[in-house]
Structure formats: C-alpha cells, structure tokens
Amino acid sequence: MFPNNLFENPDRLNRLIDIAQSSFLPLVKGALLYSVTIALVSFAIGLIIAVFTALARISGIRPLVIIARIYVSIIRGTPLLVQLFIIFFGLPSIGVRLDPIAAAIIGFSLSVGAYSSEVIRAAILSIPKGQWEAAYSIGMTYMQALKRVILPQATRVSIPPLSNSFISLVKDTSLAAAITVPEMFRKAQEIVASTYEPMLLYIEAALIYWVICFLLSILQDRIEIRLDRYI
C-alpha cells in the first residue's frame, strides 16, 4: 500500500543512498567548475565596472553622472533572470549569438557592477576630506590620491558589503541553469529528470551551496582581520 514509504521499504532507502552517492561528484564538479568559477570571473569584472561607475557618479561631470545613473537604474530595476534571458535568448535575434557561459558572465558582471558601484561610492565618500587634502598637499594628482590613499581605505570599508554581494552572486549563478549553463543546479535538475527524486537532489544542491557560502564567510573574516591591523 505504501511502497514509497521510506521506513517500510528498505529498497527505497538504499536507492536514495545510491543516488546521493553517485550524484555527489557531478554536483560538486558543477559547483566548482561552473558556479564558483563563473562567480569569481564575474565578480572580478564587475568590481572593475563598479569602481569606474562609482568614480563617474562622484566626478560631478554631468554626462558621466547621467550614464552611470541610467546604467545602475536599469540593472537594479530589472530582474537578473530577465537580463540573462535577454542576453542569451534575445540577442541572437539581432545577430549576437553568445555561448551560455559568456552570456552568464556578461549578465552577472553587469549586475555586480551596478550593485557594487553604490557600495564603492559610499565607501569612497566615507573617507574624510582631510585624506584628500593631505594627499594633495604633498603634490599628488587626483589619480595618485585615489590609488594610494583613498581606495586602500575605501576597500577596508567595503569588504563586508562586498562579501555579501559575492556570496549572493555564488547563489545567483543557479539562475544560469535557465540559460543552459551546466552549473550545479542544472546538473541537479538533469539528475532529477532521470531519477525522479527532486527532494533528495535539491536538498543536496542546497547543502553544497551552503557549505561553499560558509567557507566564503570564513574567508571574509580572515580578510577583515588582516585589513584591521592598522585600525
């Protein structure tokens, strides 16, 4: 009567253990090869976009300020999943055909660039005016002051919020499943399709995400302690 009940059907339990074991490696591989790698690459590119966007916002040069604001507004005002669909499924209709991974990296980089630009802008503005003046007083140019004096201090201020962004990004890479990137969540979906065990596979995937994010938060603590040494 209850052939599917775990506790009355030892075969079913064995089958679940089997699937859990055999799916573990493919999932971890999908996580490391795609989820984490795409997150790292997108975050690096995104931070560069973010610094320039923040500087454009602060510059006070009207056209730059307007461009930066429009960019941030569009990215923040539309869902990431929709952006990914536009890049991967939409662009081919105007002749731009992208590999799924490239499409994912472009989408995630633009997203990180927009959100993190606000963090970096706030961090730069939080550095006291006296630091700029001290840098100028020893003859530095704007770029020298920024690079040697302001950004190193702004980095310290922005580590906690940027760590948040990175951890969110690692989880957001699961959206790339929808544009056929073979990352962990996509892998889980494929295994579900052949085994019909959604509960097991999705919980397994969730656990792997959680472990990765847990390790990342430990890394964040380490970085903060290292940067705290002069405060």
């Binding site: 006291p128 006296g130 003046e133 001290a134 840098a135 020893i138 003859g139 004096v149 040494r229 405060i231």
Partner: protein
C-alpha cells in the same frame, strides 16, 4: 619667497577674504593670529590652492598662479610641491606606518628610489624625535607624535615653504611642547614658515612678523614685540586682551 596680491575668496555670499596682500621673505617666520572666522585658515589654504581663491594671485618660489583669469589647473600640483602643509587634525594616512607616510610623497610624487626615500624618511623622522616609531601606525601614536609625523611627511618633500594650520589646537596641553620644539628648530634652520596658531608664546618667541586678521582683512602686521606690546589698532588690542583674560583667569 611668498607673494600674495589682492586675494579674494568668496563662498557663495560669504566674503571670507577681502583683498589680502602679503609678502614673506625667504627664511622668515610669519604667524597669523585672529578670532575664528577671521579668514586666517582660508588664507593659509589658498597659499597651496587647497582652497581656490576667487581672484588675486599667489606666487611661491617661481611658481605663480593668477586666479583672476581662469587658473591653469595643471599647475596647481606645482604650487603644492613648493609647500609643505601641516594640518590641525594631522590627516596622516591611517593605512601606512609612520615611515610609509613620510616616504609616500617622495616615492609616489617625486618618483624617488624607494630605498633612498626610506633612508631619507628615517632621517627626517629621527629629526622630529620619532626615530624609534618608524613602524608604528598612526593609531598607535599619541597626538603629538602623529603631528610630528605630519611635519616629517611635509618636510620629506623638501618644500620651499612650510604652512602650519593650527598644528597644536587638537593636542592635549602636555603634548604641545614637543610639536612647538620641532617647529622652533625648523625656524632656526632657516625654513620659511607661515603659521596659523593660538600659541601666543610661539608667536612671541619665534615669529619675525605677526599678522592680525579680522573679518577677511589684515588689520595689523609687524614684529611681535610691536603687535603684542603696542598694537596700533583698537581691534588688535581687544583681541589680545581677550586672549590674556582667557589665559590667566
């Protein structure tokens, strides 16, 4: 060494400097005194273009900027290279050690060889009495020590002129002496200095000339004994009396 001609500074409707002219010869120490809001700090900050004057001209050494026309912004760093500035709140770079603070200008701005800059920076720090604090971060130093690092950082650029903006105002009284001592030594070595301060004893002992400013103009200027003992202007007399009243209650 310093030539200031008819300098005006306006912040919107607020007229902070109303036509300041001033010249300082090489090796002289000029102390600017005056009530708060008199424009003395603004004047000092105009000398190295941290504040851009509304009109008038500033010449330091052979770098002259005329602000009456649209100033050539690319020459502002040149003017700043002629001057060293010491701030009321030190403004040390908190992410660098004392040594790194002092080396930063020579290495980044003057592109000096880091090893040479390091030995020079150590020497300058030793000169201000901090030879044993090279590897301390600002947060690990007292206010007086931080301010002396600030002086060393400015000196390391070999400025023609040193500008001091109330260098001891943020310090505990017992730490003021160390900083003033370093400033006196500098003056004795023939450094050209412009000092905004409330330390009347420093003005009396070290200044070649005292300038009393009020409401954006120079009210009176002259050697310290004249300005302090026989001020010509009623406004100067009131200010000095007020200070004495405060110092000896």
């Amino acid at each position: 060494m310093i030539q200031v001609r008819d300098l005006h500074k306006q912040f919107q409707s607020l007229h902070v400097l109303k036509g300041i002219s001033l010249s300082v010869e090489k090796g002289k120490v000029v102390v600017i005194i005056g009530p708060s809001g008199s424009g003395k700090t603004t004047l000092l900050r105009c000398l190295n273009a941290l504040e851009i004057p509304t009109s008038g001209s500033v010449q330091i050494g052979d770098v002259k900027l005329d602000f009456s026309q649209k100033p050539d912004r690319s020459r502002i760093p040149l003017l700043r290279r002629q001057t060293g500035m010491v701030f009321q709140s030190y403004n040390l770079f908190p992410h660098m050690t004392a040594l790194q603070n002092v080396m930063e200008g020579p290495v980044t701005v003057k592109k000096e060889d880091p090893r040479k800059a390091q030995s020079k920076a150590s020497a300058v720090l030793a000169k201000v009495g901090l030879g044993d604090k090279l590897d301390h971060y600002p947060a690990q130093l007292s206010g007086g020590q931080q301010q002396r690092v600030g002086i060393a950082r400015a000196l390391a650029m070999d400025p023609q002129v040193m500008l001091f903006d109330e260098p001891t105002s943020a310090l505990d009284p017992e730490l003021v002496g160390d900083v003033l001592k370093v400033m006196k030594e500098l003056a004795q070595e023939g450094m050209t200095m412009v000092v905004v301060t409330h330390e009347m004893s420093f003005a009396r002992d070290v200044a070649d000339e005292v300038i009393f400013m009020d409401q954006g103009v120079i009210v009176e200027q002259g050697p310290p004994e004249q300005v302090f003992r026989q001020p010509r202007e009623e406004r100067t007399r009131q200010f000095l009396q007020h200070l004495q009243g405060r110092d000896t209650p």
